[in-house]
Amino acid sequence: MESPFRSEAAAFRFLLITIGAFALIVLASAASTLLGFLTFLVLSGIAIAMYLRQRGPAPETTQVRQLGGPEERRVLVVANETVAGEELLSTISTLALSEQTRFRVVCPALNSRLKTYTSDEDPARAAAQERLDVTLARLASVGIEASGEVGDGDPLVAVDDAVRTFGPNEIVISTHPPGRSNWLEKGVVDSVRSRYDVPVTHVVVDLAVEAGA
């Protein structure tokens, strides 16, 4: 049931539903006041539940303003816990083989839900900064010069900020395997894919497996 304010057609449908619902309420009240009141409560509850469960329209795709020149390729790397992961490193190295590739690494300052809502972000930021430093060092050790920043705690927002300032031609996102992702990582790859018109590569890194290997 679409919100009756979104369009005239939705408002019209809402009118028809209201007629039906109130016909029911009046009939129930004719039997007894209590029954009428209960009918009203139940119908209202159903309406609210249906309204809350519907999904809104999908967000539009943004055209990314690509800031590199015609010969340069800009790659934005979004790395959560997994910056030192081998898969990610090999993906980046492959991209670096073509000349004139500039890399920017963003480490979202991922945080637990409680700490996000209590604005306790300093430890998360420090941890993200450490991850970033390690990554940049790893990349430098294989000859890739990259710039980097600690991003917002929400990976989507961090990507948005980096897209604005860096203007990439492509995005590489690395995440944990689905079972162990942070509460904000869920669905981030799909969201980024649908939101931006540049190619998005998804790398899944399982640090536990790597540590054992």
């Binding site: 800031l67 020149g69 604005s119 604005r164 300032t165």
Partner: protein
């Protein structure tokens, strides 16, 4: 539609549209105060004739009914005539007629001379200043009334006025302060600051914004004009309870209608804020990156839109009972008298949050920038605003503990009332934590913000006492309530309004106020305010009732002290007015960002360019990242920055 896009529905006139008439014609028939004046008279006459015609046709006796004619002619059609005359409906009337709409020539936007402030102006910055000047004018009137009745109260017995006039002074004082000062002054400050903070070129509906402002002087005039009505000003308090209000002389109707106009102004402004905040934020400004002033106005606007219609309803019912002999609150006809209080307070309790939440936002801005620290617990500060919004609707009956309502309602209302202390406490502790180890600059706005925190805590504490039913039973309708009200409304709201005016004064006027005068103003206000209102806690608990013109001899000395202190408080306001006027005229020119603050309004010139920004900024971080290396709130000129980036590549 925004000021930017002409409607695609319509064909356009050519770009340079010359008005077809000379300047004399335009003075009398073009939009402006002259046309406003005669159309006001015309409106009244049309209303009067309409009433007379209908009463003659229906054969109602007597033909001439002053109250009905005054309501229809004087309080509905005359104001509409005024609004039409000054031109607030011109664009819409043109649109309705189906003629091609004029392209936006922006002639109604921005102010180059002082005259532009007396027109219908669509620039939110101009409207903000119009609001502030108008509201402070009514603050002056309401304050003078207060000093007048404080003079009366300095000694027991009646010295200067009669009882009806005294009641009128007290009622009009409160009405003006609430509806014509606190609520719209916050609207004015927000009008100026919020679009700039959002990175928007103006509000979502600039013409509606202009109309909202012009409704306000109409309401104020109605309240003040009630003194001229036969029988005197309305004397039933700003709360206007039935059945007293229904038996009052003609002046009471001025209250009923004035509230409607003020309420309409408030609702339209709130609607505008909500649409602006939801749909016009700069790219990258998520809800969690909005400055807290924006959050505060968002929450306040929700409160206004949802709650204000209830006071409109309550006043409609009283007016209908008075003028059309209905029985909403007349027991003999089957009416339910207590219903007035329920309906009235269902708005008027959220109203006190409407009068405080924007102040919370201002204080967050001031404390953060003057301590050079991010706001502590930003998310919970935002969520606590929403918490106050929700809880605020559940406590109205704490104003009715002694009204004779159903007993079972009292304890639940007590519990919800005490619960509101939680989100409010979160805010107070967060402000303190923001100050903690900050580099504090005790400028005038900061002094008022700090003064607010302490005074509001005192007012909040007396509120906690009053939330408890047994204490309220003893303290209700005594001066303890008056003390509580003024600690939260003066020590609370007014202090934050002062803080906001001083804080944004350089941005609004391009001039810096005198810091010395500002500090004198603060200390004189702070000390005389406490001297005036703190003793009221004591006399109230000793048994002095409120809204009385005479009292027991035992309270005489305390009342004399309070009255003298109130005169000093009145005098302190003169310092403020002097500071504002002289600084505006010849204060030192202010830079763009004298406070080194980080929100967007400080990143443009003082005063801002006519359309705020050349390019909409792009937000890439939070607004309070003081001391965080490399943090930016926004990219001010994205296109230039992008060009620079591209050039760097080739370099």
């Amino acid at each position: 539609m925004t000021a930017t896009h002409p409607s695609p529905d319509v064909q356009q006139y050519p770009a340079h549209f010359e008005p077809p008439h000379g300047s004399t014609w335009r003075t009398f028939f073009g939009p402006g105060l002259v046309r406003g004046a005669w159309m006001t008279v015309a409106g009244f006459l049309i209303g009067m004739l309409l009433v007379l015609a209908l009463r003659w046709w229906w054969g109602w006796e007597p033909l001439w009914n002053t109250e009905v004619i005054l309501v229809v002619g004087g309080m509905v059609l005359a104001p509409i005539g005024f609004l039409a005359g000054i031109g607030s409906f011109d664009y819409w009337l043109h649109y309705i007629s189906g003629r091609p709409t004029r392209p936006e020539d922006h002639s109604g936007h921005g102010a180059k001379t002082w005259k532009d402030y007396f027109r219908v102006n669509t620039d939110h910055k101009v409207i903000g200043i119009q609001y502030l000047v108008t509201t402070f004018a009514f603050f002056t009137i309401g304050g003078l009334m207060a000093m007048f009745f404080r003079a009366e109260l300095a000694q027991p017995g009646l010295q200067f006025v009669d009882s009806q006039t005294f009641n009128g002074l007290v009622s009009v004082h409160a009405t003006l302060m609430i509806f014509l000062f606190i609520i719209p002054a916050f609207a004015g400050l927000a009008n100026f600051a919020v679009p700039l903070m959002l990175g928007a070129p103006d509000m979502a509906f600039p013409r509606l914004n202009a109309l909202s402002f012009w409704l306000l002087p109409i309401a104020g005039l109605m309240f003040v004009a009630s003194f001229l009505a036969p029988g005197g000003a309305f004397g039933a308090g700003w709360t206007g309870y039935a059945p007293l209000a229904e038996g009052q002389p003609l002046g009471q109707t001025f209250f009923n209608m004035g509230v409607q106009w003020a309420g309409a102004s408030s609702i339209m402004t709130a609607l505008n804020f909500l649409v602006t905040i939801i749909t016009m934020r700069a790219p990258g400004m998520t809800f969690w990156r909005m400055p807290l002033l924006v959050w505060a106005n968002f929450t306040t606007s929700l409160l206004v839109v949802l709650a204000t219609p209830f006071i409109a309803g309550s006043q409609f019912f009283v007016m209908f009972d008075r003028v059309m002999h209905t029985s909403f609150f007349v027991p003999e006809g089957g009416g339910y008298v207590l219903g007035y209080q329920h309906i009235f307070w269902f708005y008027s309790h959220p109203a006190v949050y409407i009068m405080m939440l924007p102040g919370f936002g201002i204080v967050s801005e001031v404390i953060s920038s003057m301590s050079r620290k991010p706001i502590f617990g930003y998310r919970l500060m935002a969520l606590s605003l929403l918490g106050i919004l929700v809880l605020g609707f559940s406590v109205w009956a704490h104003h009715m503990f002694v009204a004779g309502m159903a007993d079972w309602l009292r304890v639940p209302m007590m519990i919800t009332t005490l619960l509101i202390a939680i989100p409010t406490g979160i805010k107070v502790f967060s402000w303190i934590a923001t100050l903690w180890r900050g580099r504090i600059h005790l400028t005038t706005p900061m002094l008022f913000a700090l003064g607010f925190v302490t005074m509001f805590v005192i007012g909040g504490l007396s509120g906690i006492y009053l939330g408890s039913v047994p204490i309220d039973i003893a303290a209700s309708d005594t001066y303890f309530i008056v003390a509580h009200i003024h600690y939260v409304l003066f020590g609370g709201s007014v202090f934050t309004i002062y803080a906001g005016v001083y804080y944004w004064f350089p941005k609004m006027t391009g001039r810096m106020y005198s810091e010395t005068l500002g500090k004198w103003h603060f200390w004189m206000t702070f000390l005389s305010f406490n001297a005036t209102f703190f003793p009221m806690h004591y006399v109230g608990l000793r048994g002095m009732p409120r809204r009385v013109f005479d009292y027991d001899e035992a309270f005489g000395n305390m009342n004399l002290f309070i009255s003298i202190a109130s005169f000093v408080l009145g005098a302190s306001f003169v310092l403020f007015v002097y500071n504002v006027i002289t600084s505006w005229q010849r204060g030192p020119v202010a830079e763009a960002n004298p406070w080194r603050a980080r929100t967007l309004e400080w990143q443009v010139s003082s005063p801002p360019p006519i359309f705020n920004f050349d390019e909409i900024p792009q937000v890439v971080g939070g607004p309070y990242e003081y001391g965080v290396p490399g943090a930016r709130h926004a990219i001010l000129t994205p296109t230039k920055e992008a060009q620079k980036e591209a050039e760097e590549v080739h370099a």
